[in-house]
């Protein structure tokens, strides 16, 4: 309870938080803080991520990202198998309610598939726009693709995804070559190899892995 009290005091300093929080929490059975604030890796630009179990509409502004899930949906497998439900169940801090559902979460195949589609969509945008003409721009745009790809690896291994800053640290601490790893069939397979050879012609995967890591450290 001390942590929850400390966090709430910290959040009340955020512009607009108190009014919105009071409104949403009054109609909610559960209130959960998640994301960077819950994992204590928030920065000045971080927004406050919260899940409210209620029938309200989502709310988002510069500082707040309030999501609402109905009680009815909370126990369905399409929710329990989602990336978000798994993140919240593992890293969320309950400010209200018991969270009985959190022991029922699992990483569904559709969550893994959605992550693959997201990565491939971004790669296809880079390919169509021929961003590879500008190498430094390509590497910078590739940072997010690599972090999302690392999320895919975690999901495929059945692990909940932590806040973005933690994903970055985990990736940098994991010395396996991600470009080689993603070409395994259980991740993206031959389509990944095709995109990489097209976007980065004549570059060794070893060098590419080093380059992206250096870019992420900066």
């Amino acid at each position: 309870m001390i942590i929850e009290h400390y966090l709430l005091n910290k959040l009340h300093n955020t512009p607009g938080f108190t009014d919105k929080f009071d409104h949403f929490q009054a109609s909610s059975n559960e209130v959960i803080l998640f994301g960077s604030y819950a994992m204590e890796c928030d920065t000045a630009g971080s927004d406050i991520d919260m899940l409210f179990v209620c029938n309200e509409k989502n709310y988002k502004d510069e500082y707040l990202d309030f999501m609402c899930v109905s009680e009815e949906r909370l126990h369905l497998k399409s929710w329990l198998g989602s990336e978000l439900a798994n993140h919240i169940a593992k890293y969320g801090i309950w400010l209200k309610g018991s969270g009985n559902w959190k022991t029922s979460v699992f990483i569904s195949k559709s969550s893994v598939d959605r992550k693959k589609i997201k990565i491939l969509t971004r790669l296809s945008h880079l390919w169509v726009k021929q961003v590879n003409a500008d190498r430094s721009l390509l590497i910078s745009l590739f940072e997010d693709i690599i972090l999302d790809s690392y999320r895919l690896i975690l999901l495929e291994d059945g692990r909940a995804i932590p806040a973005s800053a933690i994903v970055r640290t985990m990736f940098l601490g994991d010395k396996q070559n991600i470009f080689v790893r993603l070409a395994e069939d259980r991740y993206l397979g031959s389509i990944w190899r095709e995109y990489i050879s097209n976007l980065f012609p004549n570059i060794e995967l070893e060098d590419l892995d080093k380059e992206i890591r250096l870019s992420l450290v900066k």
Partner: protein, 119 residues
């Protein structure tokens, strides 16, 4: 009834509902068709499989009292809304409506799967 076939139907149904919940409605037809193909793999006594890949028509043809009229109507309504999504004439109200219906659809579909599993 093969559990593998039912598992596949279940997985395709969750994929469809998750896609709707996520708000990614541009390719819903892929998810509906995958569910239809999985449903047509089921072996159900006295079921004459229809020559269609439309989920609502497949559900209509399954000889069981456990598929309610409202479930069939909801499925049909969702298919119609989904088509709007791929044609680009879809607005936020349509998405909200589809998402609300998808929650009910999942609950009703789970009941059907449990019934077919013989629970």
């Amino acid at each position: 009834m093969s559990n593998n076939s039912l598992d596949e139907v279940e997985e395709k149904m969750y994929s469809l509902v998750s896609q709707i919940d996520y708000g990614d409605i541009s390719d819903l037809d892929v998810y509906w068709q995958a569910l239809a193909v999985a449903l047509l793999k089921l072996e159900i006594e006295e079921w004459h499989k229809p020559k269609t890949k439309v989920v609502s028509e497949i559900l209509n043809s399954i000889p069981t009292a456990h598929i309610s009229k409202s479930f069939k109507e909801r499925t049909k309504a969702m298919e119609i809304l989904s088509k709007k999504g791929s044609s680009g004439s879809f607005d936020l109200a349509d998405l909200k409506s589809l998402q609300v219906q998808a929650v009910r659809f999942e609950k009703e579909f789970e009941k059907l799967i449990e019934m077919l599993r013989g629970k």
